[in-house]
């Protein structure tokens, strides 16, 4: 089976940007499961625009994006650099995509959120909020997980810890993982492919 056959999301001649203004040209991609795609580039090079386009949140400026998965639960899910958590507890946020109680238990164990489940999300640290956002997305068993600025605001220890969760998520559900990050990814044993963007 070729990459093209396995691809969950395929892009051709894609240019991404906002409200019709191009920001970056993107090499043709075949995003398949079980692989981490590392998107690099300077600030303003179009990393966020690419991830949001792949997630179906904004339309391509030119070219096309073919998806063999939904947008949303079970399909392509985008995680913001500063995740938006809805008012209330951690457990309420985990029910956002209406996953089964079994899935909620699974991600709470995976992301060590059990002690925090009844905490108000506004009282959580930034790192904890990122864990809740990732758990919330993983709970709906995404086919493609798009994580923006995955290293933003995290110290070295939290960064490594974050990537332990990410590697666990890949091993657990094997989604195609696309991450925009400035730093190298500490993901031993996980296949990584680079996508470098220039504005």
């Amino acid at each position: 089976m070729t990459d093209d056959d396995k691809a969950l999301v395929r892009t051709r001649a894609l240019t991404v940007g906002y409200t019709g203004s191009p920001v970056a040209k993107v090499p043709d991609l075949n995003l398949a499961g079980g692989v981490v795609w590392h998107v690099t580039g300077a600030n303003g090079s179009g990393k966020t625009a690419l991830l949001k386009t792949l997630a179906g949140l904004i339309p391509p400026v030119t070219g096309n994006v073919e998806r063999r998965c939904n947008i949303g639960a079970g399909g392509a899910i985008y995680i913001h650099p500063v995740p938006y958590l809805f008012a209330g507890t951690v457990i309420r946020n985990l029910t956002l995509a209406d996953p089964s109680p079994h899935e909620i238990d699974r991600v709470m164990r995976l992301f060590e959120l059990e002690p925090l489940q009844e905490r108000d999300v506004r009282a959580l640290s930034y790192g904890e909020q990122r864990r809740v956002a990732l758990a919330r997305a993983v709970a709906s068993r995404p086919a493609v997980l798009l994580v923006d600025e995955s290293d933003a605001g995290l110290d070295e220890a939290a960064h490594v810890s974050w990537w332990t969760y990410v590697a666990g998520a890949v091993a657990d559900g094997a989604p195609a993982l696309v991450v925009a990050a400035h730093r190298l990814l500490p993901c031993d044993g996980v296949p990584i492919r680079e996508i470098h963007l220039r504005a």
Binding site: G56, L57, A73, G75, H80, P83, F86, L96, A137, S140
Partner: protein, 226 residues
């Protein structure tokens, strides 16, 4: 003047049945109007908030313009609609509590829309995008977003209640101030003033003022807590 106020306070303390019945009518009618404004206004506001920025701006402009409409203009419009020869004359709603509630709904609706729409537009884009990317659609998406702005919903409702409870024009024109049926605090005050019963008018005014102040205090306390 002090003598009149003293008599007014005695009247309130004596528990005059008619006065309290009228206060109850005012409260029930205004509460119905606010509930109707919320039922209509929240889905409309959600639609506006999730439409294009241009549509949302037009929506806010319309809501602000409607909020500034004089109550007598709304009252007159409804009078012509509900009068026997009017297009809605067959409903026979003129001079009923329902007619007053409809008029007050028209007053309350733009306030609810303006306050809630402003709050929804202040939410970061990531709130709406998080719902889209997690596949939350339809009524579930609306309920998650509206829950985020519940302080604005409560303050919009309280503001709308104050406006409805204290208005005179609509209640007088489409209600008709019928004793035991459509008489409200404001129409009763106007009547007693015309009759020259200052003590009774002041007593009614004090009740009206107390409810309006209590509503606004409640709103202040609620918003301060958040």
């Amino acid at each position: 003047m002090l003598v009149e106020i003293g008599r007014a306070l005695t009247l309130i303390a004596s528990g005059d049945v008619e006065v309290w019945q009228i206060a109850g009518t005012s409260f029930a009618v205004s509460l119905s109007a606010v509930l109707a404004a919320l039922a209509i206004g929240l889905p409309v506001t959600y639609r506006l908030a999730t439409s294009t920025p241009r549509t949302a701006s037009i929506g806010i402009w319309i809501a602000h313009s409607m909020a500034a409409l004089p109550t007598v203009v709304i009252g007159l419009t409804l009078y012509f609609l509900f009068s026997t020869d009017g297009p809605l004359g067959w409903t026979r709603l003129l001079y009923t509590r329902t007619a007053i509630a409809i008029g007050q709904t028209a007053l309350a609706l733009p306030l609810v829309v303006a306050v809630v729409l402003g709050a929804l537009r202040r939410l970061p884009d990531s709130a709406q995008e998080s719902l889209v990317t997690h596949g939350v659609t339809g009524a579930r998406r609306m309920s998650w977003l509206l829950w985020e702005v519940r302080p604005a919903i409560v303050s919009g409702a309280l503001l709308a209640f104050s406006r409805a409870f204290t208005e005179l024009g609509t209640a007088l024109i489409v209600g008709g101030n019928i004793r035991g049926a459509t008489r409200t605090l404001t129409t009763y005050i106007a009547l007693e003033y015309d009759r020259g019963d200052d003590a009774r008018a002041i007593a009614l005014g004090l009740i009206l003022l107390s409810v309006a102040l209590a509503t606004n205090s409640l709103m202040h306390v609620f918003l301060k807590d958040r």
